[in-house]
Symmetry: C2
Subunit: 715 residues, 2 copies
Amino acid sequence: MKQIITLFFLTAFSVSSAQSIKSPDGNLVLTFKLTSDGIPAYKLGYKNYEVVKESRLGLKLKDMYANTGIDKLSPSAENVPSLDKGFVTSKVDSSIVDEIWHPVWGEVSSIRNNYRELAVTLLQPTQNNRQMIIRFRLFNDGLGFRYEFPMQDNLNYFTVADELTQFSLTEDHIAFWIPGDYDTNEYYYTKSTLSKVDATYATKVNEIFSKTIIGKNFVQSPLMMKTSEKLYINIFEAALVDYPAMHLEIDQSNFILTSHLVPDAVGNKAYMQTPCKTPWRTVIVSDKAADILASKTILNLNEPSKIDDTSWIKPMKYVGIWWEMHVGTASWNYANVNNVCLKSTDWKSLKPNGIHGATTERTKRYIDFAAKHGFDGVLVEGWNVGWEDWFGKWKEEVFDFVTPYPDFDVEEISNYAASKNVKMIMHHETSSSVTNYERRMDEAYDFMKKYGYPAVKTGYVARIIPRGEFHDGQWMVQHYVRVAERLAKNKLMLNAHEAVRPTGLHRTYPNWLACESARGNEFNAWSVGNPPEHETILPFTRLMGGPMDYTPGIFQIKMNYYNPDKKEQVHTTLAKQLALYVTLYSPLQMAADIPENYEKHLDAFQFIKDVAVDWDDTKYIEAEPGDFITVARKTKGKNEWFIGAITDENGRTAEIPLNFLDNNKNYTATIYADAKDAHWEKNPMSYEIINKSVTSKDVLKIILAPGGGCAIRIW
Amino acid sequence: MKQIITLFFLTAFSVSSAQSIKSPDGNLVLTFKLTSDGIPAYKLGYKNYEVVKESRLGLKLKDMYANTGIDKLSPSAENVPSLDKGFVTSKVDSSIVDEIWHPVWGEVSSIRNNYRELAVTLLQPTQNNRQMIIRFRLFNDGLGFRYEFPMQDNLNYFTVADELTQFSLTEDHIAFWIPGDYDTNEYYYTKSTLSKVDATYATKVNEIFSKTIIGKNFVQSPLMMKTSEKLYINIFEAALVDYPAMHLEIDQSNFILTSHLVPDAVGNKAYMQTPCKTPWRTVIVSDKAADILASKTILNLNEPSKIDDTSWIKPMKYVGIWWEMHVGTASWNYANVNNVCLKSTDWKSLKPNGIHGATTERTKRYIDFAAKHGFDGVLVEGWNVGWEDWFGKWKEEVFDFVTPYPDFDVEEISNYAASKNVKMIMHHETSSSVTNYERRMDEAYDFMKKYGYPAVKTGYVARIIPRGEFHDGQWMVQHYVRVAERLAKNKLMLNAHEAVRPTGLHRTYPNWLACESARGNEFNAWSVGNPPEHETILPFTRLMGGPMDYTPGIFQIKMNYYNPDKKEQVHTTLAKQLALYVTLYSPLQMAADIPENYEKHLDAFQFIKDVAVDWDDTKYIEAEPGDFITVARKTKGKNEWFIGAITDENGRTAEIPLNFLDNNKNYTATIYADAKDAHWEKNPMSYEIINKSVTSKDVLKIILAPGGGCAIRIW
């Protein structure tokens, strides 16, 4: 039940008068003020710590044609007065909200939204009293704030040149960061102090094709930090719509982070029309790392679901024709030619290369496998014409999303899947030719409905068309939302790869099950891969904004199995791959390996078959970014729990109290653990499975190998 | 019947060996050679004149990521070997074509395609024998040539940095030019020598909003020239597809024109995939100006119609709710607010401004007027929501093309028009938000079909979205063709305003009836307007590539009729406005004035009612660019002719021999002429109508007032 207690403060304040609110439990304090120049500023304290020192706020504006190179007549950017200083406070509103809401699917089935809000209405008298509202919401675990611009005579259309938001930190904190980059978030993390951040190494990261590195001292958000006082601070954003993504510029002497928005093709950042608002900037803080992972603040800041009837939205487990292409035993392309054309190529006349992955026959085998083992869906990549020369050509007419290859009988497969009660998952690799995708979307979604594909995995590999736009810019942010909306209109679900990192919009669009939008398991197949600590960092960074389709569950850890020359491998033990189904939350989970590898380890595979994808409750038992995570989750609607415990390159013993179980009840725990001799590099596929009786009074002590993990089903 | 005589020359040539062909009548000579550096070059002679001195050919290539600011790792542009030098001749093919073909509609019903062709296959030995073909076609009135790139191992995808095509002229010719501009062709013409071209004045042309002026010595093609030896030379292009438009850079000391292609958002010119070809570059030349106008070379160079069943394609005359908005007595917008939003504005709640043009009631009056006077169609602008803030905001979600204003009952109007046997013409002003238009196109065309609109007028006012792209760039060129193709698929016709100037593609897409793509009559309503010579230049420039929807037929010449403060006027007499229906060829012609002005001059209006829009034959009787044009056309399928004679600011007597009429037949000529006291500025609306008997032996002598004209129907 929602309780709102609204307290109005209608007072004229002097420019130096500050406003403070506390979080409901009193631990956090948010203070807002205007400086003597009328610059809005805020600071944040937690218990007796300063989290964010006095930091400025505001937006810098420009004439949208200035400095774009287009119109040499337009006035210079400096002539457009910014929303940065000279403010007075017109009004201050304060309120408290305390309510419960229920997500369609999630880590938990019930979420408490409890915050104190301070909304400051500012005017710029020298600009005809142009109005800006800064709204702060203070939760027990963090702060969210955003800028709002009501419809008003003196502010209509405006263009953002920069956002001036700062996060002034107290010290040279340890940070888990990836290079600021307008186009990709597929880096592995570096742990270093802020002063030691140097993103220029990214120019040598060759496993990522499409990079637009901002500069030495620029990093992405979400940014996870740990202070010398063992405070955990996470800076990110929520509800990224109609605006570019926020990266962060680090002042490496003073430890001030400044927001850096992604530009568009002509150097502007955002085009705004009142009434409008920016995304929420979030600072989540706790002295317990597990609290960061458990935070629901980003979801709470998002708009409620826009979809009324959600009965067609269903979490899924799936298999797919996919990994074989990454390890090189099959291909996306049908033929080995380097020049094809949607309008003119006669696909039937091409000579098949003999290793095309997406064939009718192989797909039916996957459908059989899915049906036999209780998987909801089968994804098939490489089913549609165009893969022969799709990559790296900046080709606009690259895919049509409706023409199958000659060896993929979409109708037969559709009927076969239906007969086995298995859903087909569509694949729309756009190759970042987004103008092409948008003009073909209606036809592509009609095709999906015709052949019974309830979900689509989209991809945005390589450089964006419209050329000059970036994956993280406002235009693309609007595109990803357009796709979610149009799919929702068609009652279809979405899994977006290589998109901008999510910011909680799956609350508003619950058909948007997952994104990739970070470095996933696939990098292990064909590059230096992901270090053992990678999955202990992702929940503190990428997953703060939403589920990740990490595609775990690779059993055949080393790639030399496929080709003796290949040196690549997954950098975890097999048991850790199982644990990831619990530690990397997603309502959409893939059993990513090829069926024959599962058939060789059906005992271990049983965990993947059993693990749920939708939860009543989640307990983050212990966590340390970059080191380890242990989490327990209760299956929605069942008295069943799953536990996942993972570690980095250091082995450890996970101590897992089971006090979340019902008292006075006996359970069975099926424990999938690293064998004693397991090691992510030397002996990754060595595991053991133990069954034991447990109760709520038990504390499990599980030894995790270096790069290892443990997956437990309690039932 | 097509006759092809093919002569093969399979000889290895030394690099200095030249190849020559002559036009079928022997007057033109085209010579091709390779210089000692292996640079391809050509020259063109006409009778004893040099038309084009030895001029280089070739393309400069680049890595598409170089210098785009995106990828700092990519090699510099200079590292990509260009298609510019180091060629050897591998093969020379020669042939003759002589055939007749029939356009779906046109100035004539039968066109002869007669040329000699020279196709030179060039190889670059230092680049693995990379292959380029330059194909020359020499007609009796001019030359066309293009570059072709066959599918080959050593050339697959490539990016054009510049085209090196030159036209080296003999002297400082007189030119009729408009400033080179990536975004607009709506300038009036300047007549000057090449050395005196200075396009920088364009920065002060305030009646055009969206300009991207290239530089002082850049002009647009088509470029019309006259030499001191009274030779007429027209340089242009044909079949502009999958490539940017060609502007021209003038070397003002040596009188060399170099092709200048329009860039895209990141500074690249064209993205190519073999097999591919450039548009044809055309040089049309004659010692008779009328021959330039009569030339069919550009049409002959275009691909035949891609539309099999053309029965639904029909030339039209139309009226429309349109001019009243230009003269200010009505508005496109429904309400006077400056901030609306497709997703959220409640249109019914807005306060109507009382002068909205596109109302049900007004539309029905236009339908009545059209039915009464035999017009095929009614255009209505401002029927759909979004006009309140559509202009100058670079707004992406500007129009949805399917939501009418509250006072426009699309269903009632649809039924009413059908009951009166009048067609409704749709209006899709895109506001240059082309990504928005493309993602809404399917829905918009379904809407047209549902409500019985067989044709659409599109508009591209203001700056393009994708931002950074230009109206004349490759991406937009591809867009215009996509629109024509998708409309053809839906059996709908197209009239494109503010698009790139046409280049004969209406042969390939005969549903593409017309473009504006130059400065039309509307400029007279609200700006300095079009000087009296304007319409005597347009056929030598803009109309070389295709019909123009100039929207003639304004009877109320001076705008102070609407508002005593208005100083604007149409810069012609009323009689000249009638003549334009004959001199400015289009299968789509608007009676552009408001009905009440026609009702005041029904005698003159009769000409517009009678004039045909599709022809069996056309005779250009006399013409001088910038001075006068007299043309006679025979109505398709009838023994009826129409004559139009116009002049510039100088009055003159047009001498019109009627020897094109059938011998031994008496005709009636209804002559709509300037009255003796007529003058475009002092007394523009003074006209007289005379009927007289005529035969093929007669020579009419008609006095044209300054800025005047004469329209004649012979029947």
